[in-house]
């Protein structure tokens, strides 16, 4: 799964760092039918989590109510330089990973 993550490279200790991520995924609702009338099974990224320096800071449990190619923007408080790592999994057990490095000054 292709994903793009954007995080500011440098931050001052204590400041909130903005994390923006968009994941390429249809977020199939399970309410659609193909041309032969067969329902397309639901397949959404139901679990998303973000770790910073190995500690879980944010987790999202998503349903069909989140638009295709899910986009999330949230904050992480800058504590020490390290990686902001995002992991997610859909209902067909396909998982993805994206990370960004942040350098903390002061």
């Amino acid at each position: 799964m292709t994903a793009r993550i954007e995080v500011q490279r440098e931050a001052r200790r204590g400041d909130p760092v903005e994390v923006r991520i968009v994941i390429q995924h249809p977020m199939e609702t399970g309410f659609r039918y193909d041309s032969l009338g067969r329902p397309t099974p639901r397949n959404v990224i139901h679990r998303f989590e973000c770790r910073y320096g190995g500690v879980e800071v944010f987790r999202a449990s998503m349903g069909a109510g989140i638009a295709a190619n899910p986009y999330l923007r949230f904050f992480v408080r800058a504590e020490r330089s390290g990686d902001i790592e995002c992991r997610w999994v859909d209902q067909e057990n396909a998982s993805g990973y994206a990370s960004a490095q942040v350098t903390v000054n002061g």
Binding site: R59, A60, A67, A68, F74, F75
Partner: protein, 165 residues
């Protein structure tokens, strides 16, 4: 009634076998979602039911949460949504979770966000699907256990969840 030929017998016993195998499946087909105590099972697929299953009898107050949605959404397939909670996000006082509940979507609970003191700011933005003009509720639970909410009304011109969407 057809005379009992060997073939008919076989067919019947086959039907009985199928019925025997099919019965336990029906039992398993009972609803698997158990609503929280005190929640009417019939409301589990409504926004009220979704809210009640999170609140579990607790009260929710309006305030501290701000849910931002455009007042008119041209396309229900992707509507920008921002939710903010007035919280210092410190170890002592932070937002534990935020739930987004739709009034008209087939699955009322759109997403649950689990936050913590390491976030620094209680603000999450995403894009949601909305099945028609409705009221969307954002429910936040703080670290002291209290629930706060905000609701936003949105007019959706083109619904999501339609065929070919």
């Amino acid at each position: 009634m057809a005379p009992l030929t060997e073939r008919g017998m076989r067919r019947r016993s086959l039907a009985a076998l199928v019925a025997m195998l099919a019965l336990p499946r029906r039992v398993h087909a009972q609803p698997t979602t158990n609503p929280a105590p005190g929640v009417d099972a019939r409301t589990i697929n409504t926004s009220q039911g979704a809210l009640q299953s999170i609140l579990k009898g607790a009260a929710m107050r309006r305030g501290r949460v701000r849910l931002e949605l455009p007042s008119i959404g041209e396309n229900g397939h992707s509507v920008p949504m921002t939710v903010r909670v007035d919280s210092p996000m410190s170890e002592a006082d932070y937002v534990r979770r935020i739930d987004l509940v739709s009034e008209k979507n087939p699955v009322p609970l759109m997403a649950s966000f689990f936050l913590g003191p390491h976030m620094g700011r209680a603000e999450v933005e995403s894009r949601v699907r909305l099945n028609g003009t409705q009221r969307v509720t954002a429910l936040a639970q703080l670290s002291d256990g209290s629930f706060w909410f905000d609701a936003a009304d949105i007019v959706v011109n083109e619904s999501a969840c339609l065929d070919g969407g």
